[in-house]
């Protein structure tokens, strides 16, 4: 089985898409906002990962 950490990518895409689809109607705005939200989720988790890594070392 794939390393479970990688499941964060499709899950983040799905959550960003569904959340923004429920906020807006325009497909262009939905995709734009979803892309931004996806990157923010990754950034947020990356920061958390970095902080935990520093604490663990």
């Amino acid at each position: 089985m794939l390393e479970p950490t990688w499941f964060v990518l499709p899950l983040s895409v799905v959550i960003a898409l569904v959340y923004n689809t429920s906020r807006y109607e325009s497909p262009q705005r939905i995709l734009q906002r979803s892309g931004r939200m996806f990157l923010l989720i990754l950034l947020g988790m990356g920061i958390l990962y970095g902080a935990l890594l520093v604490l663990a070392v």
Partner: protein, 297 residues
């Protein structure tokens, strides 16, 4: 609902019916409202997440069980928000309970049983792995049948089966159905030989079947032993799918929370989502500071 009602481009048609359809199948309510882009996004994302979770968990993470020993009601409530794909769990729960009460392991479900068998054969010289075609017939006197398999010399060997069998119940949370048979000689004499293994179980007899019943904790331990953390991850996927469909149902009922989304986007600071929200007159809402300033003036 105010935003959608103000914007003529968003036609909610019958919002209650749309919400019910959105609950039954993600995307269906939006297809009914002719919001096809949204229908595709919800359908693919939510159903995709749900089915991915189900496949990862060997079609077991969604089940309904509520008894004195073990309750999965909260988990199932979350999963049930996906609608129809989670509904079979209710039927399977009932079927499993009935089967637990009535199943007889030494009797076939029907008159005959034909399946591919995978397991071990013991012909007196220790158990050996074997795979072949099994056919059994239920007679008044008992069960009889035949097992054909590839012999070591490359040809096909056949064994006659008879007497007591042990067949796992029909409805059970596993894709494999355990079976033990006794091998007999051509004239029907029982010899010290037997088959032990499994035959495939029908998808409809194991999908969404409860992982255990009162006094039977084995299936839950078995699935955790076989899939490990993958099973927990699979359950999380199905929970996420159920929770995401709540957003879709609300969107079908009330329309998009922040309006159509073609309003000019503010480029700096603050809560953008709030800034994007138009008021019912179509004009941008005044910011907090601006409102105070105008009040002071």
């Amino acid at each position: 609902m105010a935003w959608a009602m103000q914007d003529r481009r968003i036609q909610l048609r019958n919002p209650v019916l749309a919400a019910v359809l959105a609950f039954l199948l993600p995307g269906l309510g939006h297809a009914y409202q002719r919001r096809f882009f949204k229908a595709c996004v919800y359908g693919v994302c939510i159903l995709g997440t749900f089915l991915a979770g189900m496949a990862m968990g060997d079609w077991q993470p969604v089940y309904y069980r509520w008894d004195s020993e073990h309750s999965k009601i909260l988990s199932y409530c979350t999963q049930s928000m996906v609608g129809l794909p989670a509904m079979p769990a209710l039927v399977q729960s009932r079927r499993y309970k009935d089967d637990c009460a009535t199943a007889n392991p030494s009797v076939l479900d029907g008159e005959t049983l034909e399946a591919e068998f995978l397991g071990q054969i013991d012909l007196g010289n220790g158990p050996q792995p074997v795979q072949g075609d099994l056919s059994l017939k239920q007679l008044e006197t008992g069960v009889e049948g035949e097992f054909k398999y590839a012999a070591e010399d490359g040809g096909t060997a056949a064994l006659r089966l008879s007497g007591p069998i042990t067949l796992e119940q029909k409805v059970y949370p596993s894709s494999k159905r355990g079976l033990k048979c006794t091998v007999v000689t051509e004239d029907g004499r029982r010899v010290n030989a037997g088959l032990s293994g499994s035959i495939p179980r029908s998808f409809f007899d194991y999908c969404e079947v409860p992982l255990g019943a009162p006094g039977r904790p084995e299936p839950l331990a078995e699935v955790h032993g076989r899939l490990g953390k993958q099973f927990d991850l699979a359950a999380i996927f199905t929970w996420i799918a159920g929770l995401l469909n709540v957003l879709a149902i609300w969107d079908a009922f009330e329309g998009p929370a922040y309006g159509y989304g073609d309003e000019p986007e503010e480029s700096s600071g603050g809560d953008k989502d709030q800034e994007d929200k138009p008021n019912p007159d179509g004009a941008a809402e005044p910011k907090e500071g601006q409102a105070e300033e105008s009040n002071n003036a």
